[in-house]
Subunit: 266 residues, 2 copies
Amino acid sequence: TTRTIALMNQKGGVGKSTTAVNLAAGVALRGRRTLLIDLDPQAHASLHLGVGGDLGPTAYDVLVDPTVKLEQATIKARENLWVLPALTDMAGVETELAGDNDRVQRLKHAIEASELKFDFIFIDCPPSLGVLTLNGLVAAREVFIPMQAHFLALQGLSELLKTVKEVGKSANPNLRVTGVVLCVYDGTTSHSREVVAEMDGFFEQSRQNNEPWKSARVYRPAVRRNVKLAEAPSFGKSIFEYDPSCPGSQDYGKLAETLTTEWDNL
Amino acid sequence: TTRTIALMNQKGGVGKSTTAVNLAAGVALRGRRTLLIDLDPQAHASLHLGVGGDLGPTAYDVLVDPTVKLEQATIKARENLWVLPALTDMAGVETELAGDNDRVQRLKHAIEASELKFDFIFIDCPPSLGVLTLNGLVAAREVFIPMQAHFLALQGLSELLKTVKEVGKSANPNLRVTGVVLCVYDGTTSHSREVVAEMDGFFEQSRQNNEPWKSARVYRPAVRRNVKLAEAPSFGKSIFEYDPSCPGSQDYGKLAETLTTEWDNL
Ligand SMILES: Nc1ncnc2c1ncn2[C@@H]1O[C@H](COP(=O)(O)OP(=O)(O)OP(=O)(O)O)[C@@H](O)[C@H]1O
Ligand SMILES: Nc1ncnc2c1ncn2[C@@H]1O[C@H](COP(=O)(O)OP(=O)(O)OP(=O)(O)O)[C@@H](O)[C@H]1O
Ligand SMILES: [Mg+2]
Ligand SMILES: [Mg+2]
């Protein structure tokens, strides 16, 4: 089985790329064959792991040119970890695919057509709801929502869930929101704990209904604010390579452990 | 003289709204007639001050309907502080104005046509470069860039400056980037200090050339990470109302003091 997980949140700067990179690195370190797909023209995930600077085919080419196979564009970044990199020219994809009927299914088709087999596929989405994110949502089976435990972030959550539901209905009926990953978490204040409690309660209530987030939960641990996580990208390293014992490595490590255990039980 | 300052950064979640609200509140507390314009369909600035929930005209109406005057849509939120609120229906503005030749000048025209006089006008922009942000950049005289002292944020800065230069050239030749406001700052690490030093150096070098950011500087103090700043919006209060002595109030207070002193010297 492959777990295909889109890290999605239209809000910017909430921790999507940091989570995509470090969860991918974490499960790869635990022996799982992992693909990290960078769908963001900012290319932060690719930059973070030091991948894709050369002029080879990228996620862009795979989306725009059906003759470019996943195999040609994917780079082996680490043991067990492959990356389909982004490049800033991906900003043009919206225009290029504008006319095509299958424009949001390009990534899905490329993955299905590929000979490569993975245990985990993580898809890092840009902070928008354009054709790039839609390709991610259509190719995915699960959605993780990275977010921060702030009042205003909570306001945006229900909007986001409705959006995923809409996309699912029209283009990917199997799509489920299975998790929220709390990022840059400051547990020292009652404010953040209240926001988390409200989220837990919301998802608990949703177990009874038939929404695509009925099996979603707020993953633990929350990823604590740790400047090491902000530093690691400037060295082209995952947090585990940069500082294996820091809080960032502990938190993303435990999350990766949870994901691999869940996968074992599938 | 009116200082018209757009808080602009295409990256999401960097501190634009927190800065727009608290600088506006800060200079209003110092006796300056202040207008805060919320150009973001997320309406965080409006929510933050508890303004605009009723069904009166909003920034949206001012942009889309030239017969709606600033006076009709502006609400007095506090002593010396008026707000032109946003509503989530502003997301439709892109489509509504699509055909119009003057679509990025609507806000500028509305301000010029108004009888209201202000010492400061702060414009909170959404995290995108669409018609809403463009209205903000065309109506403004100055641009402040709220950002965080991280490696990846620095990568985005030069792109951002080029963007402002482009817009200035084609639609607002007097537009200048005059400041960077550092948000959610963690000065305990060498990483952030290195990023700030790099920024200082960059702007220092730019003094000699003829770019629209040649008189820009990284404002001090950097606004430290302080959870009170994240809590205040859920009470509909500025940081000064919520907790007048916390680090957030100290930092935004000093910035507001600097802005009013600069204004006195104009
Ligand atoms: N737990 C954390 N502690 C400290 N810094 C963090 C943490 N998580 C993320 N960051 C930093 O916060 C910034 C934003 O994170 P990130 O790039 O992962 O967000 P994003 O949602 O992918 O942003 P975008 O919407 O631009 O794609 C980055 O500089 C990152 O290094
Ligand atoms: N100095 C700070 N300390 C702690 N939290 C902060 C600070 N500044 C901002 N925040 C919080 O960070 C989050 C993002 O800030 P804010 O909404 O101001 O960013 P933004 O750039 O306006 O986002 P958007 O791009 O969505 O408009 C908010 O929850 C806010 O309360
Ligand atoms: Mg990202
Ligand atoms: Mg904002």
